[in-house]
């Protein structure tokens, strides 16, 4: 194992020398990443560079070909079921398509992690589900609807509510603001900022939304050439890698930078 020089003992997620591949198709090679407690880390990269695969690998849903991944100092690959459950309780995930359980209503979906990991009474579970539904900005009558009766954006919010059910310490989000209207997306950014401040929440979010990157991400991890390059937005903007130049200096990026910095509210 190659220990990177900037070893960070406070990191809640630590990835070293990761390689993932599907058959002969190598997605990541020699990838290192540290995520510190309480930070919001944005992950960007072109389509198909392996952002979702990285997320799945961190969560232990996809076995890496080589390398080490630790969450809360717990090795992900080779963890026992008991250890895995302990980690799961402290982690919330919003998948790219929401991944709601289609046979359950939205409220029941949110109660699943609560029922699985806590001994709360059914009344309290349902009250907490109500709070989360409000929190993510779903209309109240969505509570008793089934996922197939919701729009794409509403499914995403419901997925976020389920990810937040246990008030996790680390929240993984795969393109959370894609499919939300701009007001909803801005409100979501605010919400993430709020939760981070109140709970010491660590957020790892894949996003193509430059407004989100600008507003709430402390650092940005860019997937380039099968590895990750981490930096603040300023660092990365100064980087002369051609993809980064295109990404941060394209017309959309300029528009996002010109907008008032929403993080000032924090």
């Amino acid at each position: 194992m190659s220990v990177t020089p900037e070893f960070d003992p406070t990191a809640v997620i630590r990835i070293r020398d990761l390689r993932t591949q599907f058959g002969a198709n190598v997605i990541h090679d020699g990838l290192d990443l540290d995520v510190a407690r309480g930070e919001v880390m944005g992950i960007v990269g072109g389509s198909g560079t392996g952002k979702s695969v990285l997320l799945r690998t961190i969560l232990g849903l996809n076995a890496p070909a080589a390398g080490q991944i630790e969450i809360f100092d717990q090795e992900v690959t080779g963890a026992t079921d008991e250890e895995r459950r302990a980690v799961q309780r402290r982690v919330g995930v919003l998948f790219q398509d929401g991944a709601l359980f289609s046979s359950l209503t939205v409220a029941q979906n949110i109660e699943v992690p609560l029922a699985e990991h806590t001994s709360l009474s059914p009344e309290l579970r349902s009250e907490i589900a109500d709070v989360k539904i409000n929190l993510v900005g779903l209309p109240l009558d969505a509570a008793n609807k089934y996922p197939s009766e919701l729009s794409g954006g509403m499914r995403k919010r419901a997925g976020l509510a389920r990810a937040l059910a246990l008030d996790p310490e680390i929240l993984f989000l795969d393109e959370p603001t894609a499919g939300l209207d701009p007001i909803g997306a801005a409100r979501f950014d605010e919400l993430i900022g709020e939760l981070r401040d109140a709970l010491g929440l660590t957020v790892v979010m894949i996003t193509h939304d430059l407004d989100s990157l600008n507003a709430i991400c402390d650092r940005i991890a860019v997937l380039l050439d099968k590895r990750i390059r981490v930096g603040t937005m300023q660092n990365l903007m100064a980087d002369d890698h051609p993809w980064l130049q295109d990404y941060f200096h394209g017309p959309r990026a300029r528009a996002a930078m010109a907008a008032p910095n929403q993080a000032e509210q924090g």
Partner: protein
């Protein structure tokens, strides 16, 4: 960016105040608890422990049972709390609401700005979602279900007939203009539904031949008429068993596969995408599948007949001391060409029905992936049901025609 960093340092400073944010593992937290007291400022609810999701199950019941003052002021003191999340904040807010409902003025005291902010967030999001609809009285519910099922069955029958008409038009059109049939797709489905079904169809027919011969021999020996075992096997396999078993196997194998394939495409909006591009799903999805089954089922039936007779012949030679030659001679006397045709004529009709039901149920899938599973089950049950109903009708028809 600077703003974001300021906020992040804000979180760190809370950590210094309370010493809680550094390690959030559950076991480092103590269970949430509270004490009540009467002070000169009013009734006081003093919270301590960690008011987080994992630690509040006991305190929830205690809070619900707590006797609240009915007048004056109330203070909720949050200063000693070692951790707070939205679930804990909700409990505090719920108590707050209960006090307000009794016209008691409430004040929450906390030194940590993060806690105050979290409480504000939860306060702003405290609306109740409507209750899930109450389950109705069991008898009413059952009557309702029966009524609904009846109406559904009627609607389904109408829609299926509608789909039948549409399919017949498309099928007829494809006979006039065979160029309309997607050849690659047709070959693919013939391979899937026909070729790949050979082992299972063959095995089952062979075994049925054996069973028929064995049972027939056992009964007929009592009358000394064991030679007629051959007639039983021949009539049974050629007229009914061969085609019926093949149809049932295909309903289970291919009808269900059609529903699942088309249903998944519907869920992923592929069918809608096809329509917007100007492709007709009837032509692309339904037609090749229908043709594949109409072509395959007679061929498979022929093969099943052979295997059934073979099984019968082997069993007959074993239990009846009959030579294979005797079996064949008896066979040629027992059946006419019509016996063979009667089985085979039914095959394309059954194939059409199985394909029709499979595709129809697939097209009816809507919304969730769950409905794919439900429709697949339905397709199999309906296809087998219709095949057997049709088989009975054929029997009546042949009886009237006297063949």
């Amino acid at each position: 960016m600077d703003g974001a960093h300021a906020a992040w340092h804000g979180a760190v400073s809370i950590e210094e105040q309370n010493g809680t944010m550094t390690a959030l593992a559950d076991d480092t937290f103590s269970e949430a608890d509270f004490t009540t007291a009467s002070t000169e400022d009013g009734w006081m609810l003093r919270l301590d422990g960690a008011w987080i999701t994992q630690q509040i199950s006991a305190v929830d019941g205690k809070l619900r049972a707590l006797e609240l003052p009915s007048q004056g002021n109330a203070i909720i003191e949050i200063g000693d709390v070692s951790g707070l999340d939205t679930a804990g904040a909700w409990l505090i807010h719920r108590t707050e609401l209960a006090l307000l409902a009794r016209d008691v003025a409430v004040e929450c005291r906390t030194a940590a700005p993060a806690y105050a902010r979290l409480l504000t967030t939860v306060r702003a999001n405290d609306a109740h979602c409507p209750e899930p609809p109450e389950p109705t009285n069991a008898f009413v519910a059952m009557t309702e279900r029966v009524g609904k099922a009846t109406v559904d069955a009627a609607v389904e029958a109408r829609d299926l007939i509608n789909f039948l008409g549409h399919s017949v038009i498309v099928l007829g059109d494809s006979i006039v203009r065979p160029g309309r049939i997607r050849f690659t797709s047709l070959v693919h489905h013939i391979e899937q539904a026909g070729l790949n079904a050979l082992p299972i169809v063959g095995l089952i027919s062979f075994l049925i031949g054996i069973v028929l011969a064995f049972q027939g021999a056992e009964q007929l020996t009592k009358f000394g008429a064991e030679i007629f075992t051959v007639n039983i096997v021949a009539q049974g396999v050629l007229r009914e068993m061969g085609v019926l078993l093949t149809a049932i196997i295909l309903a289970g194998r291919s009808g269900s596969a059609f529903t699942a394939q088309i249903g998944t495409m519907k869920v992923r909006e592929e069918v809608d995408a096809m329509r917007t591009i100007g492709l007709d799903p009837m032509q692309i999805l339904v037609l090749p599948r229908l043709w594949a089954l109409v072509i395959c089922l007679p061929l498979l039936t022929f093969y099943a007949n052979l295997m059934g007779l073979l099984g019968g012949a082997i069993m007959a030679t074993v239990v009846l001391d009959m030579t294979f030659f005797q079996f064949v001679r008896q066979l040629s006397g027992a059946v006419t060409l019509w016996t063979f045709w009667i089985g085979l004529i039914k095959a394309p009709v059954f194939g059409f029905i199985i394909g029709l039901v499979g595709c129809y149920e697939g097209m009816r899938v809507s919304g969730s992936a769950e409905s794919v599973g439900r429709m697949t089950t339905r397709a199999v049950v309906e296809a087998i049901f219709l095949v057997i109903v049709l088989d009975a009708m054929f029997s009546i028809l042949f009886a009237i025609l006297g063949v």
